[in-house]
Amino acid sequence: MPVEVILPKVDMDMATGKIAKWHVKEGDAVKKGALLFEIETDKASMEIDASSDGIIRNITAVEGAIVPVGQAVAMIYQDGETVSASIAAQPLPPVKPITPAPRPDAEQPAVIPAASASGRFPATPLARRLARESGIALESIAGSGPRGRIAAIDVRGALARPAVPQREGTDLISVDGMRRTIAQRLTLSKQTIPHFYLTVNCDLTRLSEIRERLNAHAPRDAQKLPVWKLSINDFIIKAMASALNQVSDANVIWADEGILKHHSCDVGVAVAVKGGLFTPVVRAAETKSLSQISKEMRDLAGRARARKLLPAEYQGGTTTISNLGMYGIEQFTAIINPPHATILAVGAGIERFIPIKGQPVLRTQMTCTLSCDHRAVDGAVGAQLLAAFRTFIEEPALMLA
């Protein structure tokens, strides 16, 4: 029997995946474990390997096609097996640019419509009539029904949206799944999570000293390179985890069933990537050394930028750190990354004169603003968390205790 190559489910809430790139073509001989193709979900990309030896046949999804989870996209034939023409005869079409209009009462995420081989789009008779009467092209509408079928609700949704001004001098940039996910989740967050904000200034004098000394004394590896180069952000991750460990009432997320208190202090870190951002999570950061955190973060950030993170690596945690200090931003407020309960917006280290014993003294300060989900974290708890964070930043030696 030929072996089906299916589009695997690599993420909990994944319904479809996009075939980003094929690494094999029709008729190629493959060994078990060979790279077959790459898929792209709305959050990450993934490499899919051959599950057995054989010849690749019946590739049914072209690059760019969006395929439901579990659907066969190719077959691996053993020697002597005959190829089924019926599967080969039905190639999946490439996907068209989309403007999704999820059916309000639908429980499934909207499936992106695929043009049929004839270039027609599946649509109900009513949707076709409405589109015809209102002069809107079916191609511009995303269907929310099974197999991407466009229903009346999708047409009405498309009509209700203000037309994108297509004036000269503008370009419409079609957006990918990640961009849409960001748009969806942050809109949901800002609209449904009752945010409040707390701000403190943290003195970086001691942290900078310790960081310089730790980096200066880093042991060397075989190539005579230092085995660590700690960044201020590594200290911030460790300080946030230590603060959550101390103020455990803040190490929570709001869930429908109640407030979910986490045992370990897992800290998400926002990493800007082309076209969006990822928030890989440093697990149990309160138990890890600064050099461990630094090494882990370097790996996670690198793979985030290459969109090679596994879903498990950016899920979970109760908080996020968003650091825009490298752009010289002094202070900002961040939108909570659901389902987290807090997010820490970190500004740049800025030299300021501050009064010490009646005298202006030049000190480097970092302004941090904590956004809290008031459903799970009250003002006093949020304040305790941020105060503890400041203490760990200003007295980094405490993180050794």
Binding site: R103, D105, A106, E107, Q108, T124, P125, L126, A127, R128, R129, S144, G145, P146, A151, A152, I153
Partner: protein, 332 residues
């Protein structure tokens, strides 16, 4: 002055219609197996033999073809026969008389004669009567031009449709449902008629149209009640007559709701649901459809004797709820 509401069972309502018609018209007589002293397999004729005598309530031998032939001949000769089949399944035995004779006489003789007969068919599953006594063959007869086919779903309709059938100058097939005989409902005392060929909207709704027949009307109404609690407003049409079909009522409803489900007990394949689906696909309502048409009918199997399988062989309320919900929510 309001008359008090009077309730009869479906079987009593039929008996009342028979008695009312027989009182008014001496040409009317009843035929059937065990309808006399025994009162009928489902006690529909009851004691009518004592009221009208054996000349007008006649037991027949166990020969459906013979009885049907006598009924056709009597109707041609000026009588108004009403023939009861013990089970609708036995219509198969009388097909020659029903299909080739009763249905065709008026047409083949240039309209010079008519065949004013009524045949009553206890039909449907749910009584543990197994494959040869549980079928819903109404679509077979509804396929024949020259016949009229009605399916009352309530005691009220059982009386009104039967009186209209008796008045009708052409052969009318009345498909009664065995599970409905004991159902009670309001039945006025006067001799009212329900026009053949007219459906009725049993419940109004705006999200989905359910066209149902016979006992499925009640299951559809139960489903509609549950779905209403979820915000899905189903319109339930009781077809009442299969031939001639009330196309206007169905088309108007689908134009309003944009979604159609057909719920019927007969075998789904090539059944009444297929006819209604095609009717909508061919009509002006096509451009109003916002979902595929859903057919819920009997499975492609003889009705099983095993009670669990017997239930599973025809639409039941939970399945109707689930499928119509999926239809209304755009999941099919």
């Amino acid at each position: 002055m309001n008359a008090p509401i009077r309730e009869l069972t479906y079987a009593q309502a039929i008996q009342e219609a028979l008695a009312t018609a027989m009182e008014a018209d001496e040409r009317i007589f009843l035929m059937g197996e065990d309808i006399g002293v025994y009162g009928g397999a489902f006690q529909v004729t009851g004691d009518l033999v004592h009221r009208f005598g054996e000349d007008r309530v006649m037991d027949t031998p166990i020969s459906e073809l013979g009885a049907a032939g006598i009924a056709v001949g009597a109707a041609l000769a000026g009588s108004r026969p009403i023939l009861e089949f013990q089970f609708s399944d036995f219509a198969t035995l009388a097909m020659e008389q029903i299909v080739n004779q009763a249905a065709k006489m008026r047409f083949m003789l240039g309209g010079k004669v008519s065949v004013p007969l009524v045949m009553r068919f206890p039909s449907g599953s749910g009584t543990g009567a197994a494959a040869q006594h549980s079928q819903s063959l109404e679509a077979w007869l509804a396929h024949v031009p020259g016949l009229k086919v009605v399916q009352p779903s309530t005691p009220h309709d059982a009386k009104g449709l039967l009186l209209a059938a008796i008045d009708d100058p052409d052969p009318v097939m009345v498909f009664e449902h065995k599970l409905l005989y004991k159902m009670k409902g309001e039945v006025p005392e006067e001799a009212y008629r329900i026009p053949i060929g007219k459906a009725v909207v049993r419940r109004e709704g705006r999200h989905v149209t359910i066209v149902a027949t016979s006992i499925m009307v009640h299951r559809a109404l139960e489903a509609a009640e549950v779905l209403a609690g979820e915000g899905i407003e189903a319109e339930v049409i009781d077809l009442r007559t299969l031939r001639p079909l009330d196309t206007a009522t169905i088309i108007e409803s689908v134009k309003k709701t944009t979604r159609l489900a057909c719920v019927y007990e007969g075998v789904k394949t090539l059944g009444i649901g297929a006819e209604i689906s095609a009717l909508i696909a061919e009509s002006e309502a096509f451009d109003y459809l916002d979902a595929p048409i859903l057919r819920l009918g009997g499975v492609d199997s003889p009705i099983p004797y095993n009670p669990t399988l017997e239930k599973a062989a025809v639409p039941q309320t939970p399945g109707i709820i689930e499928q119509v919900r999926n239809l209304a929510k755009g999941r099919i």
